[in-house]
């Protein structure tokens, strides 16, 4: 990782993941300093090989254009599936690179997982991000792919630590060691999702703080905070309403120790908007901003 490059990134502050409820809730206006968008939700993708592959959703893009005149935009895509051994979608990379240039995003991110598979020319989506095995084979594949992505995207590329409900056995790397090694070898940055870390710690019985202590926090560019809820005996990353209580001390710890964090993004899912009525979104953002100003 070129740390000087991270140092030169603008410190955006506290942001909000854009969702349809955000657009309908102007009460959060002014409480965020940037917006994060999932670009894949702004287009229809005909799939690799299709002619005129990406059809943008005009009204949604027009609304985003208006927002982009007021606040910085950062893109966090969901469609890359960087860990899929059977496919690497360079068309998707080119499309997100176009969007990065279009909105002048300071960095671009996606998820460290796999969900898409191609078998005999037919693509299937697992409809959930699945964990990679933390081993040399995964590292080699990811390093090569990050290099390809960085050759298309002019800004730092970040990968987000994933939620996992199962753990492949006999992994040579633990979570912190794998993430640090991936960043070191590939030059990608880290989007550290503290709620994902909390979800994994809760379900698998380890201390999230221990992961933070072991992780090379110099790679962290952006942090996600969110809430979740219980389902079928597990704690999930459903982005249900306010930030989980346990995430706040993790945020403070991270902001104090990570030297080049450039943004903290609050994520909530629009289906849980009722849990944030009466100024709830602005309240979560304000609390994050207090920590940001105290620690950064």
């Amino acid at each position: 990782m070129d740390f000087a490059r991270l140092q030169s990134l603008p410190a955006l502050g506290v942001g909000l993941l854009l969702n349809p409820d955000t657009l309908a809730s102007p009460e959060a206006d002014g409480a965020y300093q940037y917006l994060e968008v999932i670009p894949d939700r702004f287009w229809l993708d005909g799939g690799p090989g299709s002619s005129a592959r990406y059809r943008e959703l005009g009204p949604s893009v027009a609304a985003l254009d208006t927002l982009a005149e007021r606040v910085p935009i950062v893109c966090h895509s969901i469609g890359l599936s960087i860990g899929s051994a059977s496919l690497f979608d360079t068309g998707h990379v080119e499309q997100v690179a176009r969007w990065q240039r279009r909105y002048g995003c300071a960095w671009h991110s996606d998820h460290l997982a796999f969900s898409r598979l191609a078998e005999h020319g037919v693509e299937v989506n697992a409809a959930i991000t699945l964990p990679l095995t933390r081993d040399e084979a995964s590292l080699e594949m990811l390093v090569e792919r990050v290099a390809a992505i960085q050759s298309h995207i002019d800004v730092p590329f970040l990968l987000e630590n994933n939620v996992y409900f199962v753990i492949p056995p006999d992994e040579p790397y633990g979570e912190a060691a794998f993430l640090s090694e991936l960043c070191r070898r590939s030059g990608c940055g880290l989007l550290l999702d503290l709620h994902n870390l909390h979800v994994n710690a809760t379900n698998h019985g380890f201390a999230a703080e221990a992961v933070l202590d072991e992780l090379d926090l110099r790679h962290v560019v952006e942090v996600h905070i969110a809430g979740g809820d219980q389902l079928a005996g597990f704690y999930t990353d459903s982005h249900a309403g306010p930030v989980a209580d346990a995430v706040w001390p993790l945020l403070e710890r991270t902001l104090r120790a990570a030297p080049w964090v450039r943004g903290v993004t609050f994520e909530y899912h629009e289906s849980y908007a009722a849990l944030l009525t009466g100024g709830g979104v602005a309240r979560e953002l304000a609390r994050a901003r207090t920590l940001w100003e105290r620690c950064c």
Binding site: L44, R55, E56, A85, V124, A127, I167, P168, P169
Partner: protein, 205 residues
């Protein structure tokens, strides 16, 4: 490339809990069709036996289902008693590559229409409700992707019913049962996407 086979088998366990249950019952023999090495087979079997597989399967199913229900809420409400079995058949025949509501909804609508017309899905008014929602999705697709503009006549669709569908659509929208009786008067509904938000109105004779 065995890593690809391992991931394929992993994803298929998530998409089809039957494979996961077979792995728990039969061990590595359940993965006979996948060209994995010994370590990958053992790894996958270990994963299949973890309690977290259940929630992984539940979330995958919920994510796929929410795309379809989000696109075709009234049809899914009408078919609720048979929806679970229906989507299993659908996903077995057509594994989803695209989870976006518009294309996923249109593909599922086509499947439903074929099943209804073939008599494999039987539910009173199913074809009428599906026709209404499909027209809505097609208009949404054309106006959102610029193939027609709000203001174009192409952004308007007229649907003719042999009865007044309003009480039916309202009941399904409220999550209620299909009304026992519907007004027996031929009705034309107009879906109008020239305005924002789009409107549905009855064509006056």
């Amino acid at each position: 490339m065995t890593l690809a086979a391992y991931q394929d088998a992993f994803a298929r366990m998530v998409l089809s809990p039957a494979l996961c249950l077979r792995a728990r019952a039969e061990g590595e023999a359940a993965f006979a069709g996948f060209e994995m090495d010994v370590a990958e087979r053992a790894r996958l079997l270990h994963i299949a036996r973890q309690p977290g597989m259940r929630i992984t399967c539940i979330l995958s199913r919920a994510n796929r289902l929410s795309s379809l229900v989000g696109a075709l809420p009234l049809s899914c409400e009408l078919l609720k008693p048979q929806l679970g079995e229906l989507v299993d058949r659908y996903w077995n025949a057509h594994p989803m590559a695209d989870l976006q509501s518009l294309p996923a909804g249109l593909a599922f609508a086509q499947y439903l229409a074929d099943e209804i017309e073939a008599g494999r899905v039987v539910a009173r008014f199913a074809l009428d409700v599906l026709r209404y929602e499909r027209a809505w999705l097609e208009l949404q697709l054309s106006t959102h992707t610029g193939s027609s503009q709000p203001g174009d006549d192409a952004a308007v669709r007229e649907l003719v019913f042999g009865f007044d569908p309003t009480p039916l659509l309202e009941a399904l929208g409220a999550g209620g049962p299909v009304p026992a009786m519907l007004p027996d008067s031929p009705t034309t509904l107009v879906l109008d996407f020239r305005s924002d938000p789009p409107q549905t109105r009855m064509l006056q004779e």
